[in-house]
């Protein structure tokens, strides 16, 4: 069974967290804050992943994704809208003719505990409905029991099915327990063909954190150094305010470099974050905070 060929990389938690904390202390002001907010908006995967998601809800979200702040022409569209497979056709239709991509979770999201056949069928259905990007989950049970071959093979099979569609591989870092495991899973996913490695489903207690993003950036950087290929990072879950979003940009900038500060290589999966970015943007441009009712709530 194919598996990881790169070196085993250890991570020391104390120093990792201290470095992540130092990066979170960067003071992003004035022109940098404006640029960062705009960049963060461009990198958002505007997400709705609830059991009660409906066609109407997805259409509203798509409208907001394309034009987050009507009347403010400088506010860009987000990168993508992220939905369950059943709602891909709705999103696809609502976003036709725009730059906003449709991303679909797949492979028995969020647990990933189905047979490979079911996972592939799930992915195929999303792709057939027009998904541009697939957010798959790894089988954490297999990973934690040491069955890395299965994880590797599943990612490979989904990647093959995806063809040109962008594949984001969710590691669900909150379930992996240690930074060593997060680093190992990152290396495994990158080597198996992930275009992007993603922190979380948003469905467990701990989602994206700064040290987690840092350790994943280090994996992406080392992979690029080894192979010359620039893969991407997506942080998801719990990214609610501008300060957090700017810190993730800082982590990416200072670990991977400016070449990664693009929606092709960096995404933030979020729903309410966009509202805070818009509020902070308005504050930077006008000097005043708008009331939350001035921001479209979808």
């Amino acid at each position: 069974m194919p598996t990881l060929t790169g070196p085993l990389v250890n991570v020391e938690a104390v120093m990792l967290e201290s470095r992540a904390n130092a990066l979170s202390q960067r003071s992003i002001k004035t022109s940098a804050k404006l640029e960062g907010i705009t960049l963060a908006i461009r990198c958002i995967d505007l997400t709705t992943l609830e059991g009660k998601d409906s066609r109407g809800r997805v259409r509203s979200l798509c409208a907001k994704a394309v034009n987050p702040r009507p009347g403010w022409p400088n506010v860009p569209s987000v990168a993508a809208v992220c939905v369950y497979p059943n709602l891909v056709p709705v999103a696809k239709q609502a976003l036709s003719g725009t730059s906003v991509k449709v991303a679909s979770v797949a492979t028995a999201f969020p647990s990933g505990l189905s047979s490979l056949d079911v996972k592939l069928a799930d992915t195929a259905a999303a792709l057939e409905s027009g998904a541009d990007e697939i957010d798959m989950v790894i089988d954490r049970g297999a990973f934690l029991s040491g069955d890395e071959g299965t994880v590797f093979a599943e990612i490979g099979a989904v990647k093959q099915l995806c063809g040109n569609a962008h594949l984001k591989v969710i590691l669900e870092t909150g379930e992996l327990g240690t930074y060593d495991n997060i680093r190992r899973a990152s290396d495994l996913a990158l080597e198996a063909g992930a275009d992007v490695i993603k922190t979380s489903t948003g469905k467990v207690g701990t989602n994206a954190t700064f040290p987690t993003a840092l350790v994943m950036c280090e994996a992406i950087r080392d992979f690029a150094r080894r192979t010359g290929e620039r893969r991407g990072l997506k942080v998801a879950g719990g990214v609610r305010n501008t300060k957090q979003a700017l810190t993730y940009l800082v982590i990416v900038k200072e670990t991977l470099g400016d070449a990664w500060l693009t929606p092709d290589r960096f995404r933030i999966g979020a729903s309410s974050l966009l509202d805070d970015l818009l509020m902070q943007l308005e504050k930077e441009e006008t000097g005043h905070y708008a009331g939350t009712d001035y921001i479209p709530k979808d």
Binding site: S27, K29, T30, A32, E254
Partner: protein, 478 residues
């Protein structure tokens, strides 16, 4: 084109700086007898911040007399719990004025504001809090059945690299033990010690318990040689430390010395590499390398040498050198022109002796004293840059093949203040740590400090410990 460049983020608070500072003696500010003042400059832009009194023999005499009087009449008789209250008061006042003190420290010394804000000032307050708690529990420092007795008048001489913090390290335990103090701050960085004197004044400490005399080396020498001083505590260069030790030889003055270092920072091939690189960066570039316990000799296992050079070279480019008051600055100004010249001279010697210099690529500000983050490869134990303390942002990288060789090279120095070890193997970490002759050994981390943890050197890095219970012992009669 660069994306998402950080805009300037200067700290906006401006501390009150007087035009002239006299000496703080017997609870009052007074001019020096000689009338002589010297200027203290901001090393980041070479502007004069204030004029500071040059204390001479007569002033030191006055300060020691005031300290003796305060000791005999008041401080030694005070209930220890009441001493604690004064020290707590100082700790709280430092906390309340931390932002102003941080800016002052950065302006006078050149260190990045993030370091003075997040390290120097909070740690200074922490030392006063910690030792305040000890003041009425001193019998626990002594062996059972022995009383804890104060020493008397302490002369304390502190360096310019952590001006307020070093003053705190010295003052807090001395006061907690019931001693009175004459403090001599460094010539290039007197302002936070003078601000501390103002705080002490506002905290209503009895006059003469703490006296601050500013000046150059002659002021320090007068303090060292003063017959009525019971103890000298000095932090600074090994050269001056040796001179002090010679002068005090045969006298009954107590002495503790915290001197230079040339710490070995050992990285094994099985180290958690990204974090080891961060540890190395922190170890040598923290405070522009003006750190006596800096990890200035990097010993790397030969098989990972090239990988480490690649990673370190890349990491160097992300360090931000510039205005120390900018909150995003990682490397601030070199403390003084004299220090900059010493760094430049040693770096030249490294190049001349055949080592390979790698430097951060960046523009240096046109004014002020700056030196880019640098390291040398192809360094050998015989090179000056492998033996002498550079006290700047310059790392010397050597290699080893086995743990035995790592230990041998690490210990092959007259110094012994600190050391660092990076390996995933716990047993190897302990094996090496036990064999390193250094006062502090950090395992898979570096530059960790806490008031409860003792700090001090072996051999030419000095003797005596500061911090923790051990730090109290140095200020008690035994």
């Amino acid at each position: 084109m660069a994306i998402f460049d950080y805009a300037p983020a200067p700290e906006s608070v401006r501390p009150q700086i007087r035009e002239d500072y006299g000496l703080f003696i017997d609870g009052r500010w007074m001019p020096p007898e000689s009338g002589a003042f010297f200027e203290t400059v901001n090393p980041a832009n070479e502007t004069v911040l204030a004029r500071v009194a040059q204390a001479g023999q007569a002033d030191v005499d006055r300060a020691v007399r005031a300290a003796r009087k305060a000791y005999d009449k008041y401080w030694r008789k005070l209930k220890s719990a009441d001493r604690a209250k004064y020290i707590y008061r100082i700790a709280r006042a430092i906390t309340e004025r931390s932002r102003e003190l941080a800016v002052l420290e950065t302006m006078d010394g050149g260190k990045p504001i993030k370091e003075s804000r997040d390290f120097d000032i909070p740690m200074s307050a922490a030392h006063f809090f910690y030792y305040a708690g000890w003041a009425d529990k001193l019998e626990w420092v002594m062996r059972a059945g022995r009383d804890a007795q104060s020493l008397g008048v302490c002369g304390q001489i502190v360096p310019w690299n952590f001006p307020l913090l070093m003053a705190a390290w010295k003052l807090a335990p001395a006061l907690a033990c019931g001693n009175t103090v004459v403090l001599k701050p460094a010539e290039t960085t007197p302002l936070t010690a003078l601000a501390l004197a103002q705080i002490i004044e506002e905290c209503d400490l009895p006059p003469g318990v703490v006296n601050v005399v500013t000046g150059d080396g002659t002021t320090g020498a007068a303090l060292v040689e003063h017959p009525d001083v019971d103890k000298i505590a000095f932090t600074g260069s090994t050269e001056v430390g040796k001179a002090i030790a010679r002068r005090l030889g045969g006298s009954d003055k107590r002495l503790t010395l915290e001197l230079g270092g040339k710490a070995a920072h050992i990285v094994f091939a099985d180290a958690p590499m990204d974090q080891a690189i961060e540890g190395v960066v922190n170890g040598i570039y923290f405070n522009q390398g003006h750190v006596c316990c800096a990890g200035s000799r990097l010993l790397v296992e030969e098989r990972v040498h090239d990988e480490i050079i690649v990673r370190l070279t890349e990491r160097l480019q992300t360090l931000r050198l510039g205005d120390p008051l900018d909150k995003n600055t990682d490397i601030g100004a070199i403390n003084s022109r004299a220090q900059l010249e010493r760094i430049e001279e040693l770096v030249r010697s490294g190049v001349e002796q055949g080592a390979t210099l790698v430097q951060q690529q960046c523009d240096l500000p046109s004014r002020g004293f700056f030196f880019p983050a640098s390291f040398f490869t192809n360094v050998h134990q015989s090179h000056r840059i492998a033996r002498e303390e550079i006290f700047g942002p310059v790392l010397s990288i050597l290699t080893f093949r086995t743990p035995d060789e790592a230990v041998e090279k690490a210990n092959n120095t007259p110094y012994g203040l600190s050391a660092g070890i990076w390996t995933e193997k716990g047993s190897k970490n302990m094996w090496v740590a036990q064999r390193l002759r250094a006062g502090v050994v950090w395992c898979n981390t570096f530059n960790q400090f806490d008031p409860s943890s003792p700090f001090g050197g072996y051999r030419e890095s000095g003797f005596g410990r500061e911090g923790g219970v051990h730090g109290l012992y140095e200020y008690l009669a035994h």
